[in-house]
């Protein structure tokens, strides 16, 4: 239900200073007042006043928001525009339903671990039978190009390789496995587990959790998002742990937002307890004693701030601290490191043109530092940036993967974990 009174009070807080223009990725790409928080806020306000109706055009303006939350963080009046936009997106979906493909994926596949695994297996089969490249060649590059970041043949998902895993007595840290890490970049997960272990943390993967619900939330499917939040909260609250760690900026931000998603729900308090335990891996390591290995890597590395990590989780300095601490690594700051890459989960697929316009200057800034690698704390940013960098030799990695390489040249699979 749209809490109209609250939304109206919030929308009225806007003082129209326009500072959001300076940080909004969709505004920088489109240079149109309907594509920035100030305009969107005004539209929502007039909608609530009854001077505007829920037109298809208004829907476009709302769905062209990437949900990066830069406006909220930089708003002098503290207007929570991203929440207003989310509420309106959800209202549209409630009224009009989801497009077929979105409905199938968001409700039929992502929430169900097994179906998700089957779907990814089918994709892998398509890769081995060389169907995927054929199909991809018929798609516009903006869609097919993003496959460049995906391994040519999908590796075995981490969850499958690991099997069902129990939490032993001494386990204090739950590793929340993101879908992207699990299915596309399992090595990232293994590296995360390794660096946790090196730093002396007994961690285990919570295998009962499902997709964090952010893809649904950002496409307006609040109903499914809430269901998944509930499922994850129930799974996590069973565990006797001190911290929940994730290597995915988006998952982390979703877990932190659960209390907002569940406002008024019986699980709201539990959601708050869970949210307080959630940490990004870089932040967790730096706060709890960072341990760095001795293997030198002769690399020049720059860093891209994922919006969800930067604006929602407030993690900026920690990944940089890790990179600076690595033997042989030269860290260079890129201009506008905190500017959105335009990936934003499914946004790059639903709005390829805007996404490209945002990506282009991002790639030039990164390339201007002449790096060997770009590090970023979000697997979704990695996909987008690798696509943007497809014409260069620059690869995109997660900072903890570089940290793991200071301990071992290759990604390790800790035996004691596999044996369980």
């Amino acid at each position: 239900m749209l809490d109209k009174a609250r939304l109206y009070t919030e929308s009225k807080k806007c003082i129209r200073c326009g500072l959001c223009q300076a940080v909004c990725p969709s505004y920088r790409a489109l240079r149109n007042e309907a594509s920035v928080a100030r305009g969107r806020n005004r539209l929502i306000r007039l909608l609530l006043e009854g001077q505007l109706s829920m037109t298809p055009r208004l829907k476009e303006d709302m769905f062209a928001c990437l949900g990066c939350e830069a406006c909220k963080v930089n708003c002098p009046a503290g207007v929570i525009t991203p929440e207003l936009i989310s509420a309106l997106k959800a209202e549209y979906v409630k009224k009009e339903g989801l497009p077929f493909i979105q409905r199938a994926v968001l409700r039929g596949v992502l929430p169900h671990s097994k179906r998700f695994a089957v779907a990814m297996k089918m994709f892998k089969l398509g890769q081995t039978m060389k169907i995927v490249p054929g199909v991809a060649s018929k798609m516009p590059e903006t869609l097919s190009g993003r496959l460049a970041a995906v391994p040519e043949i999908l590796p075995k998902p981490l969850s499958e390789e690991l099997g069902q895993q129990g939490f032993s007595e001494g386990t204090k840290v739950a590793y929340f496995l993101s879908c992207t890490t699990n299915f596309m970049f399992p090595d990232l997960g293994w590296d995360t587990l390794q660096v946790l272990e090196q730093a002396g943390h007994v961690a285990a993967i919570s295998t009962d959790t499902v997709c964090c619900g952010k893809p649904q939330a950002s496409l307006g499917d609040k109903e499914t998002a809430v269901k998944m939040a509930i499922q994850n909260i129930k799974a996590l609250s069973k565990l006797n742990i001190e911290a929940i760690v994730t290597d995915c900026a988006t998952c982390g931000s979703a877990l932190r937002e659960y209390p907002h998603w569940l406002k008024g729900h019986p699980l709201e308090e539990e959601a708050k307890r869970i949210a307080e335990k959630v940490h990004d891996i870089s932040e967790f390591l730096v706060k709890n004693g960072l341990k760095v290995g001795t293997l030198p890597q002769n690399l020049k590395v720059t860093y891209h701030d994922p919006c969800h990590l930067n604006h929602v989780m407030g993690v900026r300095s920690e990944p940089r601290q890790i990179l600076r601490a690595l033997p042989g690594v030269e860290f260079v700051e890129s201009p506008d490191a905190d500017r959105c890459c335009g990936g934003a989960g499914t946004f790059c697929l639903t709005h390829p043109e805007i996404s490209e316009k945002i990506l282009e200057p991002k790639v030039s800034s990164l390339v201007s530092t002449k790096p060997d690698l770009v590090a970023t704390g979000c697997p979704m940013c990695k996909i987008q940036l690798q696509y943007g960098l497809r014409k260069t030799d620059v690869k995109v990695v997660h900072p903890v993967q570089l940290l793991a390489r200071s301990f071992s040249e290759k990604t390790l699979r800790p035996k004691h974990l596999l044996n369980k």
Partner: protein, 472 residues
């Protein structure tokens, strides 16, 4: 004037720009109905030209149909200057936004009006050059808007304002004629100085479509100093002492106790909360020159009774201090429902007097009177802060603003240092200028825009000639 725009006019505009750049859905009109004030009027159509020729054709069409045109950049005006007349045309420069060239040999940059000021800064600074004007809105406002408003900024003390960097302009007049004012030379006395005539004309004389600015080398060093005072008066007197001492820091920003307190409540940067005022200095130049200035400023401040003088040890520390200053407006906006950022400017020797009077006015009308300002150039920003749920607060704010302008003029100052007159300060214009002076302004306006179609209702009201013509 509530009237639907004729469908034929819209069609003619679509013929020039194509459908994508002529917007008239309700959502578009709503988004172009305001600026950073609380004034709102719905336009009839919003157009997005990308070339001088397109602007020229659009203005001919508008003249034919006698429909007013308001040019708009970032829409961050503080006096209602970009709020259109109801049902009229908003001409947005947002897509007219290329940096045409940065000429390192002649220290000149040529830009289109929709370039965001910061983007110009970055384009020239990448080449070791410097475009000093730095209005607080520089991350959002456009160069076209900066020229039209003759924007200033903190660096005005040492480097001057937008007008001081203009070499040439391409301007489209309301009848569609394209004129070239100035050129690209530093010295240029051929004919009237039309370039400066358009600077600060608030979109009432023509549409600026290309701007040539002068650049200077980027200073090698800059340092930031924080000076604290127990009393606001001491800080105000120090401004005069600095100027008398013939030191010219790049910026000299003053914040009063109330603002510091709000900053520390809301988003602390570590200012002591018990100070009467804080001043932030930035000095730039060669290394020795910077060092000499720092010493001189320190000496003067201590002599004036400053509690402490602290030099930021590194860029990080300096950035943190400036973050406090930049957040000043934000923390006021969070604490009050209405904030009126005024910019009355006085001769520099009158700064202490003006600060004193502003505070008295705040007390008299029972409104918050929080003082910030660039000070070195006499440019005060008294911010009148109220909560509109209080009985009579809006009226009291208006009375306080009236009193503030009267005081500024009595101090030999001006209504506006950098925001412009727009709609908000129209009624005060006759307080500052005599009838003949205003009459000359209106005659000039009439000569270029006989039907009064360009940004009507700004600066002053003019009688509009009716009638028909065929300029096309």
């Amino acid at each position: 004037m509530k009237k639907e725009l004729s469908e034929q006019l819209i069609q003619e505009m679509i013929q020039v720009l194509g459908k994508d750049r002529v917007k008239k859905e309700l959502e578009d009109l709503i988004c172009y109905s305001y600026d950073s004030t609380n004034m709102i009027e719905m336009p009839g159509v919003v157009v997005f030209p990308k070339t001088t020729e397109e602007v020229s054709t659009l203005l001919k069409i508008a003249t034919h149909w006698r429909v007013p045109v308001t040019t708009r950049g970032g829409g961050t005006n503080l006096v209602g200057g970009t709020v259109p007349q109801e049902g009229s045309i908003v001409l947005s420069t947002q897509l007219f936004n290329r940096v045409v060239e940065v000429d390192e040999e002649n220290l000149v940059a040529v830009v289109e009006p929709g370039v965001i000021t910061r983007d110009l800064h970055r384009a020239v600074e990448a080449k070791g050059l410097f475009y000093p004007p730095d209005p607080a809105s520089l991350n959002m406002s456009t160069i076209g808007g900066n020229v039209a408003e003759n924007a200033g900024g903190p660096r005005g003390f040492k480097y001057g304002v937008t007008r001081d960097y203009l070499l040439g302009l391409t301007v489209v007049l309301m009848d569609g004629r394209i004129i070239k004012a100035g050129g690209r030379t530093i010295k240029n006395v051929s004919g009237y100085d039309l370039t400066r005539f358009f600077a600060g004309s608030e979109g009432t004389l023509g549409v600026i479509t290309e701007i040539t600015v002068r650049l200077i080398p980027l200073p090698e060093y800059k340092r930031t100093m924080l000076v604290l005072f127990d009393e606001l008066d001491q800080a105000a007197e120090t401004v005069s002492a600095i100027i008398k001492g013939k030191v010219v820091p790049t910026t000299l920003e003053l914040m009063d106790h109330e603002i510091i307190d709000l900053i520390e409540q809301r988003d602390p940067v570590g200012f002591p909360r018990d100070v009467g005022a804080a001043m932030l200095f930035e000095v730039d130049g060669g290394e020795n020159e910077v060092q000499a200035q720092i010493e001189k400023i320190e000496r003067i401040c201590l002599k004036q009774g400053a509690r402490s003088v602290k030099l930021a040890a590194n860029q990080e520390e300096a950035d943190n201090l400036w973050r406090g200053r930049r957040n000043a407006f934000g923390v006021m906006a969070q604490s009050f429902t209405n904030v009126y950022p005024e910019d009355a400017t006085v001769p520099r020797s009158m700064v202490p007097e003006m600060i004193k009077r502003a505070k008295e006015i705040g007390k008299k009308f029972n409104v918050g009177m929080l003082i910030l300002g660039h000070m070195g150039d006499g440019n005060l920003h008294p911010n009148i802060c109220i909560n509109d749920d209080q009985q009579g607060a809006l009226e009291r704010a208006e009375q306080a603003i009236d009193a503030l302008f009267a005081a500024a003029l009595e101090c030999g100052g001006t209504l506006s240092g950098e925001h412009g007159i727009g709609r908000a300060k129209k009624k005060y214009l006759s307080w500052q200028f005599d009838a003949d002076t205003i009459a000359v302004m209106k005659e000039l306006k009439k000569a270029l825009d006989p039907y009064g179609l360009l940004n009507p209702g700004k600066i002053f009201e003019i009688d509009r000639e009716e009638g028909h013509d065929d300029v096309r």
